[in-house]
């Protein structure tokens, strides 16, 4: 538990996109954000469980594909009028590889 795990080469997740990591506790979405950093969120929107990995990534945020909630990738929290947050995970990049702590 809570170990760093190597996920994929950086190129597997191009800028402004996301990929899914399967885990026994459900899917985790890894985002390559506009600031060049990688972020990871539980792939379930706090609204109605929409798959966040399929949303449009802009800045450090993602717009959920189901009903357009906008979540902050850094905190997992909804922005604007909506309230709620999804779980975040730590991510780092080393030697061209993305690592996830989960």
């Amino acid at each position: 538990m809570n170990n760093w795990k190597e996920i994929a080469p950086v190129e597997a997740i191009p800028p402004l996109s996301a990929r899914v990591v399967k885990s026994k506790d459900g899917d985790i979405a890894i985002f390559h954000a506009g600031d060049g950093n990688f972020y990871a969120l539980d792939n379930r929107c706090p609204h109605k469980g929409g798959p966040l990995s399929e949303g449009i990534v802009h800045d450090c945020r993602v717009t959920c594909p189901l009903h357009n909630w906008v979540l902050d990738l850094r905190t997992g929290a909804a922005t604007g009028a909506d309230e709620g947050a999804t779980r975040t995970f730590e991510v780092k990049v080393e030697n061209g590889k993305v690592w996830l702590r989960a």
């Binding site: 402004l16 449009i56 009903h67 357009n68």
Partner: protein, 811 residues
Amino acid sequence: MSKERLAVIGNGMAGVRAVEELLRINPEKFAITIIGDEPHGNYNRILLSPVLAGENTIDDIMLNPPGWYEENGIELISGVAAARIDRAGRKVELADGRAAPYDRLIIATGSRPFILPVPGHDLEGVIGFRDIADVEAMLKAAREYRHAVVIGGGLLGLEAANGLMKNGMDVTVVHLMDTLMERQLDKTAGAMLRASLEERGMKFLMPAETTELVDDGEGRVKALRTKDGEEIPADLVVMAAGIQPNTALAREAGIHCERGIIVNDYMMTYDPRIYAVGECVQHRGVCYGLVAPLYEQARVLANHLGGRGWMSYEGSVTSTKLKVTGIDLFSAGDFLGRPGAEEIVMRDDKGGVYKKLVIQDNRLAGAVLYGDTVDGSWYFQLIREGADVSEIRNRLILGQAHLGDSGHGGDSAADMPDDFEICGCNGVTKGEIVRAITEQGLFTLEDVRAVTKASASCGSCTGLVEQILASTLGGDYSAAPSEKPLCGCTDYTHDQVRKAIRENGLKSIPDVMHFLEWRNPDGCAVCRPALNYYLLCAWPGEYEDARASRFVNERLHGNIQKDGTYSVVPRMWGGLTTPKELRAIADVVEKYDIPEMKVTGGQRIDLFGVKKEDLPAVWRDLNAAGMVSGHAYGKALRTVKTCAGANWCRMGTQDSTGLGVKLEKMTWGSWMPHKFKFGVSGCPRNCAEATIKDFGVVCVDSGYELHVGGNGGIKVRVTDLIARVATEDEVLEWAGAFIQLYREEARYGERTAPWIERVGLAFVKERLEDERRRKALHERFLFSQQFAQKDPWARLAGEHEEEFQPVAEIA
């Protein structure tokens, strides 16, 4: 490198707005000095009227406190007037002997009240209504004296008179004309306004010409005399008989002025180092006296000074509201009309409601509303957009609520209870919207969308939200920007962005964002898909599609479902299918354990609940049986619905099924501003419902009737007949040309029905009836189809297959 120096004369609304816009576009370019003769920061002059009426305080109306100037590195010289512009020496000489050097200069000196040159005009107690000092003088007079006279029955005069009355004074308005606010109202509305102001205790002397102000012997005014010899007591006289642009500085410096300072479409004066903006300006013969157009000017000026230089100012249509609490009055555009204009009038004397619409060439040219102004912003929108109103003409005067939006008809938003659900998609009530507007100080539709979500989904309640904005904000709403920006990342409208893409050869989303100074470095979920579309439409074959800027459905070529699975719809050309296709579909459903199959409203079969990981394999199997994507998910060509037609049907006049297949073969794969559907019916019984499709063909004995702009969705709209043709080839040519016109002209997210209502059927007809233009459009469509007609399923299953699988699995 030292910065260029920018000096601004006038610390008022237009000058400071231009500086604000400039700071946004290019904060580093200039060292800025603002010179203002009023001893304050910058304030909202509009709200002087509510301050006078005791509804606001001076503190409430400050726009930029001193700290703002400091934070932005702006030198503010306040309480000192600019005395002379030295163009050769490139400096502004100040009244206190100092000087402010410049590389660029903005003159934003506004205007001053026109003081009638009658004997006694310089007596104590005779003032204008322009600034904080005037309001303070009026409030002081109200405490010490009883009789006030306001000269001028225009917007400003009535607001002054109302304020003075609220402060306990006995007020008479002396007006030269026989109609109040004759520049905004017609006689009827003017008379209704007069009656209701009289009811509140305001007195009127009109028509009457002031000839003299009488001295009380100690240098203060005591009475006013008119040409007819009437004399009324006056301890305070407010001159509100018009304004004069402050052009003196410019004139003395040799800059060309007429009534105002003459500027070109970039707000540049005769001296290219010197710009002018605001009420002091005369642009294409017009001097404006309202904030909205001045803010548009400020934006163009900043765009130019900031080094962009691609926006131009082309003049504005203005609208006015009277800010007298309890009186609803709105006017916009040309309400008198040129010769040949038609009028629609509704009048209810007892109910105190009067509405007049002026229509010219099937477009709304002007509107006057009294007593019920809920639809003001809607009419204003129609005027500005030049929308063709012939279709809605018979209901136009009843207002937007009577247009027949399903679900929302009937009431106007103002009459709805607070718990009324305005936005059905996001469950937002009227009360929540009103609270958000008042508590968070929202001004625009975009703000309300961002904060409450109302109208952020299907958009069918947009009109209601706008009504709520208008009724909650009252007078301030008209000050909101007049054209809606594409999204919160930019101030540019869809049309402006598109023009910039075409004219400046912008070929990628980052190029567009960079060129137009997007506020968010990589945009948002609203603008990115729109930009992607505009680029691929402008540069077919050259532009490379940005997958990350597509909504998930278009990226994964299926409709995302509530549980995160996808639906898959293969194309069935014109609704025709074969045992082989059906067998392949059945096999796929069993092989991948797809939970549900359904026949859609678009004559094909939908497979629901396909897992993302399975999509490429499902597609491959369907491809193998000769089927391609049906684009049931895209802003693209969707279905071509056909009926049995002449091949089988005893009533059929032409081969509607075969023609439908040809249409679908020609148009599939095309990306559009919104989804696009065809219907082809074999006879006027119209079993394919062609008259509620984007493009409908109704076969008749002599050929084909072509119909456009139908919609069976949120708001049903029946098509307009656009042509009758004799051959299938002609049908194909008209269809291709129509689609291309729509692709090039409509805004992203706008279906053919609202697009045609906005631009007018006449516009579409004119472009398509001219054979040369029609053929050119058709050619351009076929050209772009070369690149579009590649089955996305085949492509994705090849190139991007790994994307559909998890990137890793962890314990």
